[in-house]
C-alpha cells in the first residue's frame, strides 16, 4: 500500500501558557522557552509541510499567543498556502492583534471555555480568564472569521451541560466543539477527579442530540463519546503516520500528541531532518504503520482498518506496553483497567488535583 501524504500539521509552537488547566494533555515534561524552534525554522517547516501535501495547520501549544512572532508565523503559513486554525485560550488577544492576525491570513479561531460559570471556569483553568474570553468572543464576532467555541467537559462540569450549551449559543459561534477530556499528560494525572460517570455521559449525549436538532444550521455542534466509555478505541490520529503529524515546541516530530512517553523511541527533529524524510522514512513514523506490529485480537479483527488498534500512547500509559491493544477496546484482555478507572469516579468526593505549571 502506498504511503498517503499527511493532511494536517499540529504545530505546538510553545508550552508556555497563562492558564493551568487541570485537563491539559501536554506532556508532564515541558519544553522551556529558550529551547523552542525559531521563527525561521517554523516558516521553513510550513513550506515543507505544504509541499508534502498538508492542507491544514493547527497552531496550538501551550498558548500560541505567548509567541511574540505569532503574526509572522501566520503570514508565513498563509504564503505557504496552508489553511490556518488558531487554537487558543484568548489570553493575550485583543482587537488590534486579532485584526493583525486576520490580515496576516488566519482562517479560523477556536476559543476554549472551561465552563459557563465564571467561578468554576477560573477554578479549572487555575487563572481568572473567563470574563476576558466572553469579551473576546464579542470582539471576534465583529470580524469576518470562522469562530468555534471549544468546551472541555468532564465530571466537574457535565452536570450543567445544558446550561453550557445555552451559554455558548449567546456567544454566537459558528461551531461548538464539546471535547471530553482525554487522559494524557496532566489530565491523566487528574483522571480520578475528571472522569465522568456513565449517567453524566448518557445525559450529555441526550442533551447534545436535542441541541443539535434545535440549532441545526445556526451553530454546528460536534461531540463524540469519550473513548473510555466507547466499545471500541478511537482511530487515534487517523492511524499512526497516516494523516497527521505533530511538531512539538522543541522541533521533534511526533505521530501522536503523547508519543514521547513511549520508551525506547527516538523522534527526529526538524532542525536536523527534512519533514519529508521524517514522514516517509524515519523509524518512529514507520514503527506502528500498517498491521505488522499488531497483537491479537487486533491482528484478526475486522475493525483493524478502522481504528488501527487505538492509541499507542494510551496503550503504553495504561498497560506499560505500547504494542498492546488499546485497553479502551472492550475486546482487549486489559479492558478491566478502563473499567476500574470508571469506577474510581465518586461524585462528591473531595477534589485534589494538580494544576499544569508553566515550563521553567
Amino acid at each position: 500500500m502506498s504511503l498517503p501524504n499527511p493532511l494536517a500539521l499540529i504545530a505546538e509552537v510553545t508550552h508556555r501558557c497563562p492558564l493551568h488547566c487541570v485537563y491539559c494533555s501536554n506532556p508532564l515534561q515541558m519544553t522551556a522557552a529558550s529551547a523552542e524552534l525559531s521563527t525561521e525554522d517554523w516558516l521553513r517547516v510550513f513550506q515543507e509541510a505544504r509541499s508534502l501535501g498538508v492542507l491544514h495547520l493547527h497552531l496550538t501549544g501551550g498558548e500560541p499567543l505567548a509567541r511574540a512572532d505569532l503574526q509572522s508565523l501566520v503570514e508565513g503559513a498563509h504564503v505557504a498556502g496552508l489553511y490556518i486554525n488558531l487554537i487558543t485560550s484568548g489570553i493575550g488577544l485583543a482587537e488590534a492583534r486579532l485584526s493583525d492576525l486576520i490580515n496576516a491570513g488566519l482562517d479560523h479561531i477556536q476559543l476554549s471555555f472551561q465552563d459557563s460559570r465564571a467561578e468554576p471556569a477560573n477554578w479549572i483553568a487555575g487563572a481568572k480568564a473567563h470574563a476576558h474570553k466572553i469579551a473576546l468572543s464579542e470582539t471576534i464576532r465583529r470580524f469576518r472569521i470562522a469562530f468555534t467555541v471549544n468546551l472541555v467537559v468532564h465530571r466537574q462540569n457535565l452536570d450543567h451541560i445544558e446550561e453550557m450549551i445555552a451559554f455558548t449559543e449567546s456567544l454566537k459561534p459558528d461551531r461548538l466543539e464539546i471535547a471530553h477530556a482525554q487522559y494524557y499528560g496532566w489530565a491523566l494525572k487528574n483522571r480520578d477527579t475528571l472522569m465522568p460517570t456513565r449517567p453524566q455521559l448518557e445525559n450529555c449525549m441526550r442533551v447534545v442530540e436535542a441541541a443539535q436538532r434545535r440549532l441545526a444550521g445556526q451553530m454546528k455542534i460536534d461531540c463524540v463519546v469519550p473513548d473510555y466509555y466507547a466499545r471500541y478505541p478511537k482511530a487515534c490520529m487517523g492511524g499512526w503516520g497516516q494523516r497527521l503529524l505533530l511538531i512539538a515546541p522543541s522541533g521533534k516530530v511526533l505521530p501522536c500528541h503523547a508519543a514521547e512517553v513511549i520508551p525506547g523511541m527516538t523522534f527526529a527533529n526538524v532542525r536536523e531532518n527534512s519533514l519529508e524524510w521524517i514522514w516517509k522514512q524515519s523509524p518512529a513514523f514507520e514503527k506502528f504503520r500498517g498491521e505488522e506490529w499488531m497483537p491479537e485480537p487486533c491482528r484478526s479483527c475486522d475493525r483493524r482498518t478502522e481504528d488501527f488498534g487505538g492509541c499507542r500512547c494510551q496503550a503504553f500509559l495504561l498497560t506499560g506496553d505500547a504494542t498492546a491493544t488499546d485497553p479502551v477496546c472492550t475486546l482487549a484482555s486489559t479492558h478491566h483497567l478502563v473499567e476500574s478507572a470508571q469506577q474510581m469516579t465518586e461524585p462528591g468526593a473531595a477534589v485534589n488535583w494538580s494544576y499544569r505549571p508553566n515550563p521553567s
Binding site: H56, Q110, A146, F147, D174
Partner: protein, 91 residues
Amino acid sequence: MPGPLSSSQPRLATGCRWGNEGEERVVLFPEGMIRVQGTGQTILELCDGQRTLEDIVGELAVRFNKADAAKIREDVGSFLESLQQKRVVDY
C-alpha cells in the same frame, strides 16, 4: 434553518475556501475538507454570492440540457441545505 429560496445567493461560508489536494479541488473548512467532484463541484463553483439559486438552476439546466429544471432545483436545494447545516455554505 430552511433550504435556500430562489432569490438566495449561496456562497461558501466564512472560513471555508477552495484548495487543492494534488490535482483535485477541495473545499477547506475549519475541521477538515470535502473532496468535491462532478456535479457537486460544478454547483459549488457557481455559488459565488452573486448568482441567485434561480440563476444557478438555469445555468445547470443549460449544461445538462435534457434535465428538468424542477428536479435540478430540488436536488441543488437539498445539497446546499445539507452543506449549510455543516456551516460550509451560507445563503
